[in-house]
């Protein structure tokens, strides 16, 4: 009997845990209280990319806090709902279907990164739910999905900017090291071709299988090539293992990195591997430029710091470009609903460009409250967000200016700008 009881008990615990694991931290599209509207944070909250979820939450919750403080959208309060896509298409598709089937108050999706966007964006398109994605995949450069929106520059532009930044830093003999995952491979081709196009002399181009226990042979080959700088994007684990071994074999040259290097997880892993001071000294992050003194950026960080209840250790995200982009996404969704006088996605989706595009006579606003007030007075508005001006093209892609940022005394500071002409020269 005891054995049977133990068996049943263990079975029950196992099944319960399996169910919990299968659901992750997803609420699976559970809707908020009656009268509330819901923004889904469709991101990995478990698995190897589990940090993306909290990063997105660091954008959504501060935005909702700001929106609710200004009276909500058309009288509705807003909820940010975490939906765990586990960073895998096989998990993301059923999670998206469950969410769409079960949530009647869902009005927008914030998230879907490069790992899942191709699989789930068609589902959101079919359901007529606007999705603000942080994917950089070039397959979305000319997307005809009318409900797809991308605030940050596509990966190809990021790669060209990294090549241009290498030249600007005086690196004439660069090398490249990219992970072979979908996220890193987005910017690799344009970075490699850009380096050649602007007259630099690449000494090594490496594509690494991510998540290996060792890259000693690859690091030895890189050290032998003696690059003046390495243009790189790889996940935290791969970067840490590789550069730790490179530092044991040779020296770490200048690292021309992308916004991933500003993520707390990447810095934590790399700082542990090669030392924080060396990382700070050699890291040159090429990121979309937004003056940290802008009103929208200040408002973002202010709301972020006040959201500690929902966002643990909020200060870790205050320079995170993806968090800022997700914050802007939520504000834009809200302003579009106000402009359309409707919370119906099929109606307000058309208003997203109307509240962000520059136009003669448009009132430039940097906060939700200012935008809402201007709209109430019948004015046209242009929201300029925490990531700067957001000009969507006909494929709903917005581009950014780029800057080379350094981590100095605990803060990111732009050391120089990468101009549009420099990026164009690298892009060809």
């Amino acid at each position: 009997m005891r054995g049977k009881r133990t068996f049943v008990g263990v079975m029950a615990v196992t099944l319960a845990a399996l169910t919990a694991a299968a659901c992750g931290s997803s609420s699976g599209g559970s809707s908020g209280p009656k009268g509330n509207l819901e923004f889904a944070m469709f991101l990995p909250f478990s698995g190897p990319n589990a940090a993306y979820g909290p990063e997105g939450a660091a954008g959504c919750y501060p935005a909702v806090r700001e929106i609710d403080a200004a009276g909500g959208i058309l009288g509705h309060k807003i909820h940010c709902t975490p939906v765990d896509d586990k960073g895998e298409p096989a998990d993301a598709v059923p999670a998206a279907n469950r969410m769409l089937a079960s949530s009647s108050s869902l009005v927008g999706v914030i998230g879907t990164d490069s790992n899942t966007a191709t699989a789930v964006v068609p589902l959101f398109q079919q359901a007529h739910i606007p999705v603000f994605s942080t994917t950089g995949q070039s397959s979305f450069d000319h997307s005809t999905a009318s409900y797809f929106w991308r605030i940050l520059s596509p990966d190809a532009a990021q790669g060209s900017a990294m090549a241009a930044a290498a030249k600007k830093l005086g690196i004439t003999r660069p090398a490249t090291m990219f992970g072979n995952d979908i996220a890193a491979q987005g910017s690799a081709p344009s970075a490699i071709s850009g380096i050649k196009r602007i007259g630099l002399h690449p000494v090594a181009n490496q594509t690494l299988g991510v998540g290996q226990s060792s890259y000693r042979s690859e690091a030895t080959a890189m050290a032998s090539a003696k690059p003046q700088g390495i243009v790189t994007e790889a996940d935290p684990q791969t970067s840490a293992t590789y550069f730790s071994e490179l530092s044991q074999i040779g020296q770490i040259p200048k690292l021309v990195t992308d916004p991933v290097s500003q993520e707390p997880n990447w810095r934590q892993a790399m700082g542990g591997a090669i030392g924080k001071s060396l990382l700070d000294k050699q890291d040159y992050a090429v990121v979309a430029y937004s003056p940290p003194t802008s009103l929208a950026y200040k408002r973002f960080t202010s709301e972020l710091m006040s959201s500690a209840k929902q966002v643990p250790k909020p200060s870790q995200w205050d320079a995170d470009l993806y968090s800022a982009a997700d914050y802007d996404s939520a504000i834009i969704l809200a302003l579009a609903m106000d402009a359309a006088h409707s919370d119906s996605p099929s109606v307000y989706n058309r208003y997203i460009t109307k509240v962000t595009a520059p136009s003669p006579g448009a009132t430039v606003v940097h906060t939700y409250a200012a935008g809402k007030a201007a709209l109430a007075k019948g004015k046209h508005i242009q929201y300029v967000g925490a990531v700067g001006p957001i000009h969507f093209d006909r494929w709903h892609n917005a581009g950014n200016a780029f800057a080379i940022e350094r981590y100095v005394n605990g803060n990111w500071k732009a050391s120089s700008l990468v101009t549009a002409a420099e990026i164009k020269a690298a892009a060809g």
């Binding site: 068996f7 694991a21 979820g53 293992t241 934590q268």
Partner: protein
């Protein structure tokens, strides 16, 4: 030639790290016939025990010893509390594999919920670099190679010459006969789980030192390579696991040096399939693969 020598040298380091865990995995399997896919989770949990102690100021090698003990206890507890009731109820081999996957998911996700989805590193300088012909090894890597060498020899000698080692081998060949001969199977099985956990603990810390950084799921992510080494050598054979680790380690490093680094795993697993085509039982194993789970 220099590139080849250096790749082989680096391959030995990788092999040493894999071998510690592969021997642990295969030792427990040979005795119990439970294909324990929660082995990677034990590596991670033990690795975190070492991390917490190391963060509290303990030397990483002392912390590794504590991780070994905790790995042994965790492994023992998993068997006693979770696996044994299922085995008593006659769950088949495939069913047990599902149970071990469930345990891995519970442990990995539970740990991730507790420590957060972030990265951790030991405070452990790599130490002085030593030049051997055309490659460089750090003091830390040499210590890991030494630990792997000592542990694998201890396991092999223990199995060959000690009473309990002979009992384990007896169980591995024929559990019913071993029981009939008076071997205390329950205690021997418990010891096999404990030793396997000890090796998982040491292997986990060695792996995390090598990768420089780790998360709550790192052990499970590397389990496939560990299993590949064990299968290549002949599942159930500690000596084979060492040889399998050497093949996997050297092939991946030589592949990375001469071929596309992105495809080094393709080469390693290609070799695995080629070997298994010629010797389905692996390089060393003499065990039948269709045995029932040992009770």
């Amino acid at each position: 030639m220099a590139v080849f020598v250096s790749a082989v040298g680096f391959g030995v380091v990788t092999a040493a790290i894999l071998a510690i865990s592969a021997v642990g995995f295969t030792l427990q399997f040979s005795v119990t016939n439970v294909f324990n896919l929660a082995f990677g989770s034990v590596m991670t949990l033990s690795g975190f025990v070492a991390y917490w102690l190391n963060a509290a100021g303990l030397n990483v090698w002392v912390a590794m010893a504590a991780a070994a003990l905790s790995g042994g206890l965790i492994s023992l507890a998993i068997n006693e509390v979770i696996y044994t009731p299922f085995i008593r109820h006659g769950l088949n081999l495939f069913g047990m594999v599902i149970v071990t996957i469930s345990v891995a998911v519970i442990f990995d996700h539970g740990l991730q919920a507790a420590v957060g989805p972030t990265f951790f590193s030991y405070v452990a300088p790599a130490g002085r670099a030593f030049h051997f012909a055309d490659f460089v090894l750090t003091r830390q890597e040499l210590i890991i190679i030494g630990i792997a060498l000592v542990l694998t020899i201890l396991v092999q000698v223990g199995l060959q010459y000690t009473r309990v080692g002979k009992a384990m081998r007896g169980l591995a060949v024929n559990a019913s006969l071993a029981r009939a001969c008076g071997i205390p199977t329950r205690q021997v099985i418990a010891l096999a789980w404990f030793v396997s956990g000890v090796l998982a603990g040491i292997g986990g810390v060695a792996l995390f030192l090598d990768t420089s950084t780790f998360t709550a799921t790192t052990g499970s992510e590397f389990l496939i390579v560990i299993i590949a080494a064990a299968v290549l050598g002949g599942i159930g054979s500690p000596r084979g696991a060492v040889l399998g680790a050497l093949v996997v380690g050297i092939v991946t490093e030589v592949g990375a040096a001469y071929w596309n680094p992105e495809l080094k795993d393709v080469l390693a697993f290609g070799v695995l399939i080629a070997v298994l085509l010629v010797r389905p039982q692996g390089l060393f194993s003499r065990l039948a693969t269709e045995r029932a789970i040992t009770r």
